[in-house]
Symmetry: C2
DNA sequence: GATTAGAGTGAACACCGTTAACAGTTAACG
DNA sequence: CGTTAACTGTTAACGGTGTTCACTCTAATC
């Protein structure tokens, strides 16, 4: 496919890609703090002000980098999801969750930049439209869709509306459309799955589990089994890792 | 109590406290990025090089600040734990967990600095001796001790050694002494409690739950109930918040 | 009272993100 | 085609940062 209009636009797009690639290398080699405008420019043989032709500021470059990382991770997970045509939805969910962990452990600097940085101001007016937030939403949607498919294929036992308090119930109801018609109790379990998976992977990737476990892999698998059971899944295939 | 030797040493200790206090104010007002040597010095009416009489580097100041924050948080949780002499151990655990959440939400900048920063290199040789790591261990011990007391008072049903895989079992056994003789299955559940609590609070404090919940309080309570049940606890008192 | 350790200063260095004014190249248009 | 405009890159500079060094002054010590 021959994308990109005139020669100039293509060259421009290529340069932008090179800048982000150089920033990515800096990130990998020296962490988020090493991704400086000057360091990136140096790597490309450019002077720092030249980068301002392509990004409004250092922050804009970081945002673009984060967006790309989310999209890359989303792509990886989608490939895992669609990898085996014979796999059932539950197995896909297992594999994607494990895939997220592997990606996080294999890309600690990237993962730290994406998930370790506290969200600046989630209540800002333009936050919803920010490209990094949208990329994060596309990423989260992978899990949401899988859980919704698990539910659609075989509804799992979940708390009744009475079990959830009225306050929580009201909030979960508001997300019913996004969760493709799942009842509040099922959304609650989906949220449960996500928060546990997130906490687990963050703790391991950020090294906050070393005091308790040398290799958190086995613990992760055990937790995944518990979480899968809550969603009515059978045991996952034994060939993980 | 009259601690501190000669007048000079006392003055020095007081200055160190003032520096950390100024750094804390900077942290609260402008986030971790605003805690600069120059900004702190400005607040104290000093020149930046003066701070080097008290801290080896900017990083050393940050480390000391983090250690203090951990100790402060630990103190707050200990006060909550020992607040009501009539409360049973399970209630204390509930209250302390809820207290951690409240503190995190009430001190977002401090919490972000403490927990949002990925641990630099947990495998470094001197990592164990670093003061911030030790303070973090003291903090974690509050929860560990409470769970151990819950177990000692009324052992809760937990996975058998066979349920846990051999790999996980071996690692949990190594932590048996630290967990005051609890069996591997019970340590597994204690770890479970901690990782879920950690993930939950981090996600809420870092604003990564806003897409799903406007007010995560009710969700937190529901999760705490589940987690308490896993530890054999009764319902917590209704007067939370 | 002389000596010495400590606290604080000003000047300087190297780095950072960012802006402005300027030059060369390349596409578009009459 | 020649002109014009837009785009890409430069150099110079500003204010900011953490950090070091040489220096002064003060206060505790022998």
């Amino acid at each position: 496919m021959d994308v990109g209009g005139t020669g100039r636009d293509r060259r421009r797009a290529a340069t932008i890609a090179e800048i982000k690639s150089a920033a990515r290398l800096q990130l990998i080699e020296g962490g988020a703090a090493a991704v400086g405008l000057r360091a990136v420019a140096r790597r490309l043989g450019l002077t720092p002000p030249a980068l301002y032709r392509y990004f409004d500021s250092h922050d804009a470059l970081m945002t673009a980098l984060i967006s790309d990382l989310y999209d890359e991770l989303t792509g990886v997970l989608e490939e895992i999801r669609d990898g085996d045509p014979d796999a059932d939805v539950g197995t896909r969910l297992y594999l994607v969750a494990a895939g997220l962990r592997i990606w996080a452990l294999g890309h600690p600097a990237e993962f730290g930049l994406m998930f370790g940085t506290p969200v600046p101001d989630p209540l800002a007016l333009n936050h919803q439209q920010r490209p990094d937030h949208q990329a994060a939403m596309r990423f989260g949607a992978v899990f949401k869709e899988l859980v919704a498919q698990v539910w659609a294929q075989q509804p799992f036992p979940c708390p009744s509306d009475n079990d959830l308090g009225p306050v929580l119930l009201k909030q979960l109801r508001q997300r019913s459309e996004y969760f493709e018609g799942m009842p509040p109790g099922a959304i609650y379990l989906a949220l449960n799955f996500w928060t546990r998976l997130y906490g687990l992977i963050c703790m391991e990737a950020f090294g906050q589990l070393h005091w308790a476990l040398d290799d958190a892999g086995a613990y992760f698998e055990a937790q995944m089994l518990e979480m899968g059971e809550a969603l009515g899944l059978d045991c996952p295939p034994p060939d993980w890792e």
